[in-house]
């Protein structure tokens, strides 16, 4: 519930990595919440996209990576098209996925063996190719 801020915390590694991978300047975000307002899957998210950006900016790595927000993002770019400050929030969500997937533990977000019966035959390859790119390390 409480955080201590120092300039190292503000210029933390986590935020820098996310900014590098996504190519976005998180300081430009003035927390207007337009992205959360327009996100079609926000209803299922523990915290909204604008809060994820805020948490990242403040260097709260565990809390940011602990939520399902960036795993639920379907890269539909509705947020990016409406951001008044021109931040590409979809890229930030992708960057967060990359941060987790590129970690040493190489932990995948989905386990293929756990797919239900007949799932592989039913679902088109597009879903697998894009899904595996987004969820497998």
């Amino acid at each position: 519930m409480k955080i201590e801020l120092t300039r190292q915390k503000v210029h933390n590694e986590f935020a820098k990595k996310v900014e590098l991978i996504s190519g976005q300047n998180l300081f430009a975000c003035y927390q207007c919440g337009n992205c959360t307002a327009g996100c079609p899957v926000a209803f299922a998210m523990e915290i909204g996209p604008h809060e994820v950006i805020r948490y990242t900016l403040l260097g709260l790595e565990e809390e940011t990576l602990g939520v399902n927000t960036y795993w639920l993002c379907a890269s539909c770019l509705q947020c990016t098209s409406r951001c008044p400050k021109g931040i590409d929030i979809a890229r930030v969500m992708d960057a967060l996925r990359m941060v987790v997937l590129r970690k040493k533990e190489r932990k995948d977000h989905i386990q293929i063996p756990e797919f239900p019966e007949g799932f592989l035959e039913k679902v088109p390859q597009i879903a697998f190719v894009s899904g595996f790119r987004k969820f497998l390390s």
């Binding site: 207007c32 919440g33 337009n34 959360t36 307002a37 327009g38 909204g48 409406r82 008044p84 021109g86």
Partner: protein, 436 residues
């Protein structure tokens, strides 16, 4: 210098809104002759369209009418309404300005403003003055107490001009003032200084795709709400929604529509919307006690005298719900208008099925501001606001001696600042005349 090198101590004010009026009255009281050029048929500008003004909620008509009447009757002020500046030549002390007096198709000398033609005119079209909230006649004056109280015919709405039928106004006019053959006339005025107070416009709500491109009838802009709320407006002050004129019980107000949006619309803040939206919400609550108002905002900007207290009073006493966040989308769903917003303070996505939505759209310069500036030879910024020579210490002067700017033509500001700004311009003119 005039013909014989004399410095012409006569001023021209372009734009008859509250800024133009204030500057003209000051110059008139200072003993100088003023030519006030106004594009619309009568003076008063945007303030004419307002119902009440913040923060005192006194009615705009009552505070404006004494000023317009004073301007109309002022011995030193010559009114050239329904006219536009065509061409400007010369320099300080000797500007020759060519003015186009648009054809009103009514002979203003004969007309005594009895208003019969306006009653009898059969044509009904959405009136631009009422922002489409009500229907206006083809022959019209902007308001019953217009100054000058002379009607004009709008050819694009008039049945005679469109289908060569009707001519009711000509038949009914007791003094035979209607003249369909009237052409634009050109006059030239010789003046020593010019104050440009051409005011502002609003970004049309049709430019917002995410809010329905202006096709959702119950999504209106701030000025339209003013017309709904105005006693002399189309609904005589009752808040009724345009689609089915029912009284809305859930009204959503959205701030920063098109403002503070560098990526897609205007990057600047339009400065007055926080205040007039709070005013709208309070006036709505005064009229619809069981209604609920929501205001989506990012930062509330109430910096003038008594403004912050006005906002806090609105929140506390009238139960206006301020939600900090932008609205991403508005669409119509049967009777209701669905609003997808957010409250960033709770981080929750907020969906409201409202009856009516009022957009506080961005203030932009008048469409013809840029080429008027070209005619005068003064600079504008990329949006078309006139550029002052020094932001801090010389806010009303331009880099051409003798040409000054006043009011929202320089940048969005409220009535109090526009009046002070206009008076400052009048002071510079009086100084210029006194020195020569």
């Amino acid at each position: 210098m005039g013909d014989n090198g004399v410095f012409v101590k006569r001023a021209m004010v372009i734009g008859g809104g509250i800024a133009g009026i204030s500057a003209s009255i000051d110059l008139g009281n200072g003993g100088y002759e003023v030519v006030l050029v106004e594009k619309l048929p009568s003076i008063g500008g945007r303030m004419l369209q307002l119902s009440e003004t913040f923060p005192t909620l006194d009615c705009a008509q009552c505070t404006l009418t004494p000023k317009t009447v004073e301007t109309g009757q002022h011995p030193h002020i010559k009114l050239l309404t329904y006219s536009e500046v065509e061409q400007v030549e010369g320099k300080a002390g000797d500007f020759r300005v060519k003015i186009r007096r648009k054809a009103a198709y009514v002979d203003w000398e004969k007309c005594n403003g009895c208003g019969l033609c306006q009653q009898k005119c059969p044509s009904k079209n959405p009136s631009e003055f009422d922002r489409g909230m009500g229907l206006g006649k083809a022959i019209y004056t902007l308001s019953p107490q217009a100054v000058p109280n002379k009607p004009v015919i709008n050819p694009s709405n008039c049945r005679y001009f469109k289908e060569k039928k009707c001519r009711v106004c000509e038949k009914i006019c007791p003094v035979g003032a209607i003249d369909y053959e009237q052409k634009d006339r050109f006059v030239e005025e010789r003046v020593g200084a010019i104050i440009t107070a051409v005011g502002f416009d609003l970004i049309p709500r049709e430019s917002f795709g995410e809010y329905g491109y202006g096709e959702v009838p119950d999504v209106i802009d701030g000025l339209a709400f003013e017309r709904l709320n105005s006693a002399s407006g189309p609904t005589t002050g009752e808040i009724r929604r345009p689609s089915d004129s029912k009284i809305p019980k859930e009204v959503v107000f959205i701030q920063c529509t098109g403002s503070r949006d560098p990526e897609r619309y205007m990057p600047y803040c339009s400065r007055v919307c926080c205040m007039y939206t709070a005013k709208h919400a309070r006036l709505y609550k005064h009229k619809v006690h069981d209604g609920q108002t929501y205001i989506f905002y990012m930062d509330i900007r109430s910096t003038g005298k008594g403004y912050e207290e006005f906002i806090q009073q609105g929140m506390e006493e009238e139960g206006i719900l301020y939600l900090r966040g932008r609205v991403s989308r508005i669409f119509r769903d049967g009777e209701k208008v669905i609003v997808w917003g957010v409250d960033t303070l709770t981080g929750k996505k907020v969906e409201i099925s409202a009856d009516m939505v009022v957009l506080a759209t961005a203030i932009v310069p008048q469409k013809d501001a840029k080429d008027l500036a070209k005619k005068l030879g003064i600079k504008t910024d990329e949006y078309g606001f006139l550029t002052e020579v020094q932001r801090k210490l010389r806010p009303v002067e331009t880099d051409i001696e003798g040409i000054y700017i006043a009011g929202c033509a320089q940048g969005p500001k409220d009535i109090a600042d526009a009046v002070a700004h206009a008076n400052a311009a009048a002071s510079k003119v009086q100084v210029l005349f006194a020195k020569n």
